[in-house]
């Protein structure tokens, strides 16, 4: 890491550490959701930005994580960590089993295949009420307990969620920076050339899909312990779509972009809801505006603007 980016890191960290203490409780609560959505969005960003795969099934893995946590803690009385592990293992196994065949599809077909997967999962969450509680859901999920320190307030949970989110960002960053990342870039830019260099495209795509599912399950477990109640409404196709918006809005190839996207999908609806019921229309239109005007997302648009300003500044200097 260069000294310049380190210079940026320090004030950012200070602001991050102070935020939950100075902000009102509901804003701190939204920031917790931003952290959870960042985790879920990171996986989709990896798929979209580095494999060109539109994943519209993240609510499936999010739901699996949440239900695993709910079922393990409430129904079976196991410690919270069990829920995290069960959710992650089931999600990764499912992603592997489904990913192998489905990732043979490309482009639109894959996007709609994952959308169909999300629709199937959402119907099954609804039908299997012996497991999920159906529309009544499962309530009374305990707050997380770190060695006797109960994370029962948004300001406490905030730190835990964001530390997990940072850890996931580092994992994602390392994955992109590693040999795997090089192979991913080769595959994205020219899949034929990559295949001729004996890169197993199928295995590579499945690997990233499994990582994406892991992040989704992790986010789901974090969500379950935050709201203490999970029901089918949280894991519908709509949720899959809003997860996809995170990397689209922020910028799929950049990790800070995912945070920006997560801020966008958590805060914008909340800000717009002050305007009354019209806020859902405005949110849809905001998405359209981002897609039409900023195809590389907010972070991409910001970068472009900065280059343009720098060029202008250079011309005058």
């Amino acid at each position: 890491m260069s000294s310049r980016s380190l210079l940026w890191l320090v004030p950012c960290l200070v602001i991050w550490a102070v935020l939950p203490f100075v902000l009102p409780r509901n804003v701190a609560d939204l920031l917790v959701f931003t952290g959870i959505y960042t985790v879920a969005g990171l996986g989709i960003g990896l798929l979209l930005g580095h494999c060109g795969i539109v994943n519209l099934a993240q609510a499936t893995f999010y739901g699996l994580g949440a239900y695993a946590s709910a079922y393990c803690t409430v129904m079976m009385g196991l410690p919270s960590i069990a829920g995290f592990i069960v959710g992650a293992v089931i999600s990764m196994a499912l992603a592997y089993v489904i990913g192998r065949p489905i990732l043979r599809l490309t482009g639109y077909f894959l996007a709609l295949g994952t959308l169909a997967l999300s629709a199937i999962a959402s119907a099954l969450f609804f039908e299997w009420d012996w497991l999920t509680g159906g529309t009544l859901g499962i309530g009374g999920i305990p707050k997380l307990d770190l060695f006797g320190f109960v994370l029962d307030r948004p300001s406490r949970y905030y730190f835990f969620v964001w530390i997990v989110a940072f850890a996931c960002m580092i994992v994602a960053h390392n994955l992109v920076d590693s040999r795997t990342g090089l192979m991913l870039r080769a595959m994205r830019d020219s899949s034929t050339a990559a295949a001729s260099l004996s890169i197993d495209l199928q295995a590579l795509r499945t690997k990233v899909f499994v990582v994406c599912a892991l992040f989704g399950a992790l986010a789901g477990s974090l969500f379950a312990h935050h709201v203490s109640f999970v029901s089918t409404q949280s894991f519908t196709v709509d949720r899959s779509i809003s997860f996809l918006l995170i990397p689209v809005i922020g910028g799929a190839t950049s990790i800070p972009g995912i945070v920006v996207g997560a801020l966008f999908v958590t805060f914008l609806p909340e800000l717009l809801s002050k305007l009354g019921d019209i806020h859902q229309i405005l949110f849809g239109l905001a998405l359209v505006a981002v897609v039409v005007l900023m195809p590389e997302g907010l972070v991409g648009a910001f970068g472009k603007l900065r280059t343009r300003l720098a060029r202008r500044g250079g011309g005058h200097g």
């Binding site: 599809l105 482009g107 709609l112 169909a116 229309i281």
Partner: protein, 295 residues
Amino acid sequence: MTISLVLQALFAGVTNGIVYALVGMGLSAIFKGSRVINAMQGEFAVIGAMTTVLLLTKSGWPYAAAIAGGAVAGALVGAFIEVAFVRYMAAKNASEDSFLLLTIGLALSLSASILYFVGRDGHLLPPLGSEGVLIVMDAVIQFHALWLIAIGIGATLALRAFYHRTTIGLSMMAASIDADGAATTGINVARMRTFTFVLGGLLGAMGGILVTPLIGVDYQLGLNLTLKGFAAAVLGGLTNPLGAAVGGVTLGLVESLAIIGISSSYKDVVAFSVLIVIMILMPQGILGRAGRRGG
């Protein structure tokens, strides 16, 4: 499992299948003409049906005029989307993913607009023909369903004739097969793409208007119809609107046989599983011909 139950299921399957076929044909026509997967195709159905409901109940139009109004509304929204968004993005060489995201955003906005302006409630339309039913071997068949099937078949044949017999249909085909070649023979390729969206909007609206007397319309209907319509289009090979008709009816039949074979609550699970399996195993669609290029 009695004969009448099977007959009832088959009939319901064909009826639903025709609706999926109309939505799927619109989706397929748009994809053929513009290479855009329209994730708001189901919203065209909602727009058509809702406009008809409002013209009939709020403005007091006669039923036939209200239906025509609904169909025109679908077509106009289609034209608007092409002119306002798709044209601009196509000029900037947007990726296929961004078109998908564009139409997802438009679908969200439209469904939220219906929720805001019309409300949460579902609305029914009166059945076409009469309220009566036909009883065949103890299976109850609504007259409306017979109308729906007849109109669906009529629309499919008309679409076929449109693509093969009319100048404008042939021009649209030419523009979709080879845009540069079509342009050199004097075809306005951009305008043909607008017509494609008009056609897609019209077909979607027809599907919506026809299904409303049976299941009603509300702001949430769009997404489900989009998914079913896409499944129908993929089963038919995606670039072939007439294949979507076959795909739609097949999907409807599979669904209703799943209802008698398994349980009505697994209807969507079966339909979408079939979609995934067909995409993987039969990428050309069940008809097997016509290229399935898209990604």
